[in-house]
């Protein structure tokens, strides 16, 4: 594979996009796990499908459509979360279904042969084009830049929203910002692993990293490294055995997560046994 890597641009693009996706996912995944936003991120991710459909319908780059729709959905969900005291599960579920339906509707309305949507649903890292890569790179830079410039206020917001508000941090702004960053991350990851499989790459790396550190910054860093390991191994598996890349990455990630959890459970039981 190494030889082909030097030879073929599509493989270089694949490796680069895997690394970039892992960076965004490591940072944002840590945030959504700590703020318990996993469901919400799932909702935002699935609205991307509507955006892809809109892109085809309007004849623009589908990723740009996804960017527009996910960002709008993120702002919408953040507003609902802020304005109502009811549980946000319901509006998220509706966003989720409505987003997917819009995608299917737009595709049906688009004249000509329907495009293959599997790439967007399940990812196909080997089809990432140079243009896609530039978009991914820009969005990734935005995520990294936003989180590094506002690291302390973000950390304060994640840990204790009320206290942060009391000391004068603009928590409304931070919240909207983070939701938009989730939307950007979703768009970054679409090609790599697909809308439906995104959650694996967002949640598993920080969940595993959490076993090794109690520091937010390190948690993000370890998550990034784990994400790179998962995506590149998945890419290799996909290339070598000719299996779909998104599934390869998501399955490998899940298997490692399962194994790590199992080992941890056994170790804890043993520790208790020794102590008791």
């Amino acid at each position: 594979m190494l030889k082909s890597l030097i030879q073929y641009q599509f493989l270089q693009n694949a490796v680069l996009s895997a690394v970039l996706a892992s960076i965004a996912c490591g940072i944002i995944g840590t945030i959504i796990i700590e703020k318990r936003l996993v469901m919400m991120s799932g909702g935002i991710a699935h609205t991307a499908f509507g955006g892809i459909g809109l892109g085809y319908f309007l004849g623009i780059e589908p990723i740009i459509g996804a960017l527009f729709i996910t960002t709008s959905a993120a702002v919408g969900i953040a507003t609902i979360k802020r304005k109502t005291t009811m549980t946000t599960d319901i509006p998220i579920g509706i966003f989720w279904a409505a987003g997917m339906s819009l995608g299917i509707l737009f595709i049906a309305l688009t004249p000509g042969y329907p495009p293959d949507m599997n790439t967007y649903l399940f990812g196909d890292i080997l089809t990432v084009s140079r243009n896609n890569l530039y978009i991914i790179l820009t969005l990734d830079a935005l995520v990294v830049l936003a989180v590094t410039t506002l690291f302390h206020p973000i950390k304060a917001y994640l840990f204790d929203e009320e206290f942060s508000t009391v000391i004068g941090i603009n928590t409304t702004f931070i919240e909207y910002l983070l939701f938009i960053l989730i939307a950007l991350t979703v768009v970054v990851v679409i090609h790599v692993i697909g809308i439906i499989l995104i959650m694996a790459l967002l949640t598993a790396p920080p969940a595993i990293a959490k076993l090794f550190t109690n520091d937010l910054k390190r948690l993000m860093l370890y998550s990034i490294l784990l994400g790179i390991f998962f995506t590149l191994t998945g890419l290799w598996l996909s290339y070598t055995f000719n299996i779909p890349s998104g599934a390869a990455i998501a399955l490998f990630t899940s298997i490692v997560y399962g194994a790590v959890s199992l080992i941890r459970a056994i170790m804890q039981r043993r520790a208790r046994h020794i102590k008791g």
Binding site: L150, E162, F163, V166, I167, K210, N214, D215
Partner: protein, 263 residues
Amino acid sequence: MNENKEIVIQVKDVTVYYQNVCALSNVSLTVKDKEFLGIIGPNGGGKSTLLKIILGLIRPYSGKVEVLGKPPVKALGAMGYVPQFTKFNRDFPIDVEDTVLMGRMSGKTPIFHKYSKEDKEIVDSLMDKLDLYPLRNRQIGQLSGGQLQRALIARALAVEPRILLLDEPTASLDSESKSHIYSILDELNKDITIIMVTHDMGAISSHVQTLACLNRQLYYHGHSELSEDVIHQLYGCPVDLIAHGIPHRVLHEHHNRGGGHLA
């Protein structure tokens, strides 16, 4: 005894609704400089809501709140807040030192924020004062309830507030941790105003100067010294207002040592 002191908090005719449920109705209250006010009342009686109104976290439906003569959101930095520690995400990846440092980030939403040497010195001395220094690198989930509570008090004090607001600071703590917290508060009260929501009737008689009895409306507000007059007024409150139907505990706490603690 506080007659000539400056008024630091003024709550006037405040009414709060959650959806259609009235949480506070026409509550008026003044707090003077260096007062130690205890707020008691049944669960759902609006105690935490009153704190949040004063902190500016909730806006009243009607009425007015002033902190140091300004609306609460303009008085940021004047108030230190110690939330209910039992409601915390104890899993969060943060250690004691970083938790306390958070209090130094007051004002605005700083870009490329870094804590200064002065911030670190203030935090070091606070951790020292509250016996947290040896625990400074511990993740907060690895602290006992009392230790976490002290860390949250230290964080609120890092703001260098004039008013400290605490929401049930001794809930679910053992008696030793409780008395530790109270001795800290008594010491702090020499310099700053303290407002504390509590269910701990023992504290009312021995630490708190003034008392507010809250069940949607303010039933009583005045000295916590248990004179005939106060007793009479406390009995004017609905019975369950006084600590889960044990009204006599308020009056006889000192005869009751070792008799277990109220929830």
